[in-house]
Subunit: 342 residues, 2 copies
DNA sequence: CTGAAAGCGCTTACAG
DNA sequence: CTGAAAGCGCTTACAG
């Protein structure tokens, strides 16, 4: 079997209490220098590492943090993997491990969804919620139980929760305004889903920009693409089929914007000569590869912030701000141009 | 505090042994139907979930699996996140949790690197190694200790380990051959690093294709780009500065290929008119966005296979094949063309 | 069919 | 300065 405190204690001729003190560097002032050295030597020689499970059982700390995304396969999405990368870096430096969990339960026999299970089973010390799919009710309950939770890019009505937010309204306002300045009047907003707060907020920003420019809001220009390539293409295809006129598109995500560019090219439209396109998130190399203009966010930094806040809460350190807001910034590339139609 | 077996037992008027039997559905035939119902009712009412830490301490199973990448921030790389996505899907379905660990230790005070720590601390039941950075010596030791480990895209000399492999030699052979058929003779191979097996194998395939076509091998056409955008651009920049002539590039990764296309465009070369470029991995949308030809691999499927093999080993199920090999397939897009120079 | 008891590998007052 | 003992929340023979 594996080595335990008992083995170390026997070899050193001391008690396991002493072994524990040396290994954990606690109450060391009470341990004789010689004894300490003796134990340390043996620990080193055996390359001994304490069983973290046993330790957790007593200390009630697991040094594990759960990061919840909708579906585990979503880490393929550059938005999520940038944020997670930022989280991971911080956890790593602070000696925590990162556990990936999902919020959507497929055909699950468990009483609670997977991500709640990690909490209930005491697998983790805290949770960072990257997904809108977790139900408000469940999240509120977690707060009630004093479980350390950080929300990313979502809020809970009537509750001020520790959260890292994105200025979605401002982002879409800026994007729309830029297009308006380029003389566009019929601008499509390709949202992911209006079940999501982020898209509701973005729609607000879109409307605000139109209003300021005295352009009337046309509901037929608003479509949903489910945050993925294929459904975005389908949504835009529907618009083209209905012969709805437009000269620009703002999409809620770069992948969706790319789907638009791709479809437009297939149908013989040129970007940006015929249609201007702006994405969201400025995901790594994707925009560069396709010359896509996008609303850039410091996603890695955002993840770092979320992790730092969570660790503060876990360790009962005071946190300065309950809500940190990141503002997207327009990065112009060769996917937007002046509207030349009429 | 939280609820335990003791609480359930008291409320049901039974012993904790009985509670355990009902919750775990073990030896149920020995438990009276009425008793069972009574306990189940209470468990349900309290939405009770057993403490997995305590359970692990006894059962020596954590239902956690570690996935090791070089640096946690590497999940940004589409190669890794596709493989991890495949792994995650399988683990999820089988009730396992996924822990992300890294193989490279920065300034770490621990005796062993982070990923080994997860094993030593008994945090996990097994390990999937996605990184070449883990030392052969350490990996061999893990096998000696009977730790369930799966290697992905790497082998250990003289050892047949359970592994999921990529036909790197065949992949670069095919890519090079395609370019040769397009009349290219001076083909650059932009590798990541020759410290890595995968690039050594790819170089073999490159040489083999040249040899078959009676094209002599020119060492000055072989460069290293460290698997990232910037260093790839620098490497190619060096080649251009030295005025080395070439009409095509095969890169060890799509991001690297994209760096080439980008730099070539900046310097006034057209792809594919002047220079043909082929990438590797066919990473999601990147090639589509940049019309990049690439060697496609079923990376998600590869991850699934690795996870399935690991769970078989963990559960002592027989595994059919120790080594599964995936073969890349050339996807032609508009980044390659016939060499028109002389 | 049911329960008492030992034990998993640690931590932590407490006693000396 | 050091150790014996209780306890964390479970599982698992064993006894009845």
């Amino acid at each position: 079997m594996s080595i335990t405190y008992k083995d170390i204690a026997r070899k050193a001729g001391v008690s396991i209490s002493t072994v524990s003190r040396v290994i954990n560097q606690t109450d060391l002032h009470k341990v004789g220098k010689t004894t300490q050295k003796k134990v340390e030597k043996i620990v080193e020689k055996l390359d001994f590492t304490p069983n973290v499970i046993a330790r957790s059982l007593v200390s009630r700390k697991t040094y594990n943090v759960a990061v919840a995304i909708k579906d585990l396969e979503d880490i393929i999405n550059p938005y999520f993997n940038q944020v997670i990368s930022g989280i991971a870096g911080v956890l790593e430096r602070r000696g925590y491990f990162l556990q990936l969990v999902r919020t959507v339960s497929a055909k699950e026999k468990a009483l609670s969804p997977y991500y709640l299970k990690a909490i209930q089973e005491k697998r983790v010390d805290g949770l960072i919620l990257l997904s809108e799919e977790a139900k408000n009710k469940d999240v509120i309950e977690l707060f009630a139980k004093k479980v350390p939770v950080i929300l990313v890019n979502r809020t809970i009505p009537n509750i001020t929760a520790p959260s890292v937010l994105i200025d979605n309204e401002g982002g879409l306002y800026d994007a729309t305004k830029e297009l308006i300045e380029l003389k566009h009047k019929r601008i499509v907003f390709l949202a992911g889903s209006f079940d999501f707060q982020l898209d509701k907020q973005r729609l607000k920003g879109y409307k605000k920009a139109l209003k300021e420019a005295n352009i009337s809001y046309d509901k037929s220009l608003i479509i949903e693409g489910a945050f993925n390539f294929n459904q975005s293409a389908t949504a835009l295809g529907g618009l083209l089929k209905k012969k709805v006129k437009f000269s620009a598109i703002v999409a809620s995500d770069d992948v969706m914007a790319l789907a638009c560019i791709n479809l437009l090219n297939e149908r013989g439209y040129k970007v940006p000569e015929d249609i201007s396109v702006i994405g969201f998130n400025d995901m790594l190399l994707l925009p560069l590869a396709s010359s896509l203009s996008s609303m850039k966010l410091p996603l890695v930094e955002l993840g770092r912030k979320a992790a730092t806040m969570l660790l503060s809460i876990i360790n009962n350190d005071p946190i300065k701000e309950m809500e940190v807001i990141f503002k997207p910034e327009l990065i112009k590339r060769n996917s937007i141009g002046i509207n030349k139609k009429k």
